[in-house]
Subunit: 613 residues, 2 copies
Amino acid sequence: MKLTQTFIPTLREVPADAVIASHRLMFRAGMIRKLANGLFAYLPLGLRSLRKLEQIIREEMDAINAQEIKPTVVVPGEVWKESGRWEAMGDAMLRARNRLGVDLVVSPTAEEAVTALVRDDLSSYRQLPLSLYQINSKYRDEIRPRYGVMRGREFIMKDAYSYHADEESLDKTYRDMGRAYRRVFRRCGLTVIPVQADSGAMGGSGSEEFMVESEIGDNTLLLCKSCDYAANVEKASCKPDFRPPPSVEAAREASSSTPATEIIDTPSVKTIGDLCVFLKTSAKNFIKTLIYRAVNVELDLSAAPGCASLERRRPAPGAPELYPEAFFAVLIRGDLDVNEAKLAATLKAGELALAADTDVERLTGAPVGFAGPVGLTGLPIIVDQTVTAMGDAVTGALAKDQHYRHVAYGRDFTGWLVQDIRTVKDGDLCPHCGTSLYEKKGNELGHIFKLGYKYTRPMNVSYLDEHGKTQTPTMGSYGIGLDRTLASVIEEHHDENGIIWPVTLAPCHVIIVPVKYNGAVKTTADTLEKELEQLGLEVLVDDRDERPGVKFKDADLIGIPFRVVVGDKNLTASTPQVEIRRRGKVENRLVSAAAAAQELAAMLRAELAALNA
Amino acid sequence: MKLTQTFIPTLREVPADAVIASHRLMFRAGMIRKLANGLFAYLPLGLRSLRKLEQIIREEMDAINAQEIKPTVVVPGEVWKESGRWEAMGDAMLRARNRLGVDLVVSPTAEEAVTALVRDDLSSYRQLPLSLYQINSKYRDEIRPRYGVMRGREFIMKDAYSYHADEESLDKTYRDMGRAYRRVFRRCGLTVIPVQADSGAMGGSGSEEFMVESEIGDNTLLLCKSCDYAANVEKASCKPDFRPPPSVEAAREASSSTPATEIIDTPSVKTIGDLCVFLKTSAKNFIKTLIYRAVNVELDLSAAPGCASLERRRPAPGAPELYPEAFFAVLIRGDLDVNEAKLAATLKAGELALAADTDVERLTGAPVGFAGPVGLTGLPIIVDQTVTAMGDAVTGALAKDQHYRHVAYGRDFTGWLVQDIRTVKDGDLCPHCGTSLYEKKGNELGHIFKLGYKYTRPMNVSYLDEHGKTQTPTMGSYGIGLDRTLASVIEEHHDENGIIWPVTLAPCHVIIVPVKYNGAVKTTADTLEKELEQLGLEVLVDDRDERPGVKFKDADLIGIPFRVVVGDKNLTASTPQVEIRRRGKVENRLVSAAAAAQELAAMLRAELAALNA
């Protein structure tokens, strides 16, 4: 492949909006160009690397017997209505209506489309387990697309969906996928952090995310310094730094020496900070009471305080019943924060936010800032585990400018539900080994997920089991973002001069740089190109009429692993020689021109073998 | 590959809407499934063939130095507005608006998007010629999607775009593409008919379509029985069956013996047929006068009758000026039809239709049915070549119930423009050799097209030539529909039992059918599978617990080229044997089990070589 015949528009300048290395380098190396905000085109060089990544993923999927299919990019809105996600997806989903008024969606993900396909052809347990995947364009209308292909609007995703007769079979495929994902990232030369992840409204049957550390990551990870515990903050738990009482009765007993609750006037005290100063105590002694409004709650509230007459709806036949709206009082120790992802998972809620002031006033009978659990009826109280150990606390008193002190859990109030809903942070203790946890920012490259019956039930998927009985399959879903993975490889493998491709993803293996492309130099370069190609290596020859300095700079920028410089000087030696350099290393090595191809092939094979091991 | 591990849901029944063989067979063989009207998913078997077709196209594109890129599927509406096609594309283009109100398009084609990319990086003549292509999903909102993937809404297209410094360079790439397309179709085992095609409003710099004969084809082709002339009816011309006069003067002289024009009363005569009966003559002696309304006319009308004060507009900066609306009188011999594609090409008109009755009455001063050229002023007259040879004709007299007879071209009227605008039909004479032409119905698989400056000018693409002068590149565009090509291969290669894949596109090369998958039969089948795979063949083993009849039927249906039956009976012979059959042939052949792999590999290689030659 000759450079003059290849469209690789390298650039010296950096686009103003490119703040991360991969965005800058993909743009400067002529791998991508921007069509519009969040819409990037891959140029020939970028596409070559993208295709290699596709192929690695394909091989690993095929190896665990997932089968590739190709649904359309544009899918009918109808299937999204069946699953109940037509509304839940909100503005992130790009919708269109065709000339007949039919609702269409540019796929952001394909649980519905693939489940609809499987529904039509699944009849017998003998067809299970069944894993299908696609590598295809997706669209999500990111509010702020940025960082190049790291957070684009259109992106390429490998998404797989598996269907199973039982939990054990789903477990096996889920584990296979986890292993396949680890292999994919290892073959890419990428350091990933697999973390426990939030399973959202699904209940926690299992979910793992594959993260790369990144300054611009939109996830916070909590990692243990001594064991392998790693979790997304949305899911992370910690070992309590107190001894939680085993029961309400035990809590009551533990607070037997606490003085009786008394009211204190707290005029012009607005925040917990003010209160700490006012009472000369620490936030650890307060119970924070927050009123939340939740939308589309799946948790059964029929026995919860104040919920008996709540409206309950089934969004689609077969889908679970939901409460369109419900309010909750949430208690947590004053120095801690409520983790809304955990709270949403507990409530199986579609959405969640702090209630409006008017709702807070209506439900607590007091202005915002004076909510508290003592005497609070009319809505379910969710108690974080930390509160159960508080035997002498301060809380709001459900009246303006008033607080209670000497409030004890178990004696003065209890909750409808006790649950871990705290946000774990740097310095909290590892739930496995008790060592301190630390925080990192991460970007999600992949996510594997046990879905259970969330789609198969409302979409009426069924098969006949061994006994001829109709059953619903359980389901898993597994995604990898290709663009992001490629960009993350560059984030991990570059220097100030450009990209340093792992051999598995390099657009070419070898770049031959003739100092001046004519005479013996040209002959040697062309011969070496042919020899390398015969050995199966992919070669780029910089046949441009440019100064060597320009050629070297571009070779470094586009990051081809092996560079061969062919110059007059080394060819006139008794044994003609060429100069070999591994991108990213400083040493040059002279090798005989005749042996160069074999030597390069051996170097490449060794590196490929190490990554693909 | 084991069949029980592969998702190939074959079916006995045929979907009610599947009227053509490829639709029936792709569905029954488990290659595709319908997600919605016009939206089809490829299942594993179909995808394997699709990928092989992709690869053939990719190889042929790469061989002529076209370079693959990957623009997004969703593209900004903005570039369509720049080219002026935002409105011209009408309802066939699927539009969406994102959450910020930005107009987006699900690409139906990519002249604009690719030209926008090239614009940003093209600076010097040294970068030209430049050919870029993609193989990607496209969407066109077909009013009546049908015939399976033959006419779907979402489809996969290879679309290439080339940019050139001059006409010669464009010519060369256009010819290279034509040859590459012929090779693609030959490698697919497909009989295509390359035909001259309409170049639309572009003027006729060159356009060729690659057609397959098809009962359900939406194109009419005219083919010569003795030479290689072939054209789409939109473009087809024919040798006149008369001698056209070389000039208006010659025409006038030729009609010197024609009696003077006279008016005849033709009460209650409505059609040319009525008139023939009334005047006891043939339609060949009438001049049909049709009034057309054309929209967005690019042809310069500044000197045309009645057009001096017509509005003229430039839809986008750099785009050519257009007349938003213009009317024309079109004359043709009474036994012939006007070819609206030819007329539109002549006028360089965006759209064209017969004028409304009120417009006809306003422009001719007479009710519909009495238009004629004598005394007709106020709009340009377009004369088909046939009319120039009419020296004694009948025409409408621009008054109710009146016609003229003895009307002669050159003496009694002339036109503003003389042009071939007749629709050529079965039996007309070949323009090359004069033999009779015949008609066929065809489906378009590919189209190559010289575009000239249609996109590069309005989109302001430029480069510096050798002399440092700013120039605009000229452009070509080249498409192949992949789904359609695959379906057409099945149309050409099937029998009553199923598909008969050409080896180049078969999802697998060999299907091994063990009569019963256990014991020695199983061992032999598995050994043969391994041997074949080591030789590079793709193998499917029907390891299902089904009767041999069911397995044979499915093998025929999915159309794998080579079938190997492994049965107990033939294994117990002194030399164990297996039975080989080429799909589509009747003979079975017994070969030694030990030699079967080598033999099959040789058969496959021979067929591959023949197609890829």
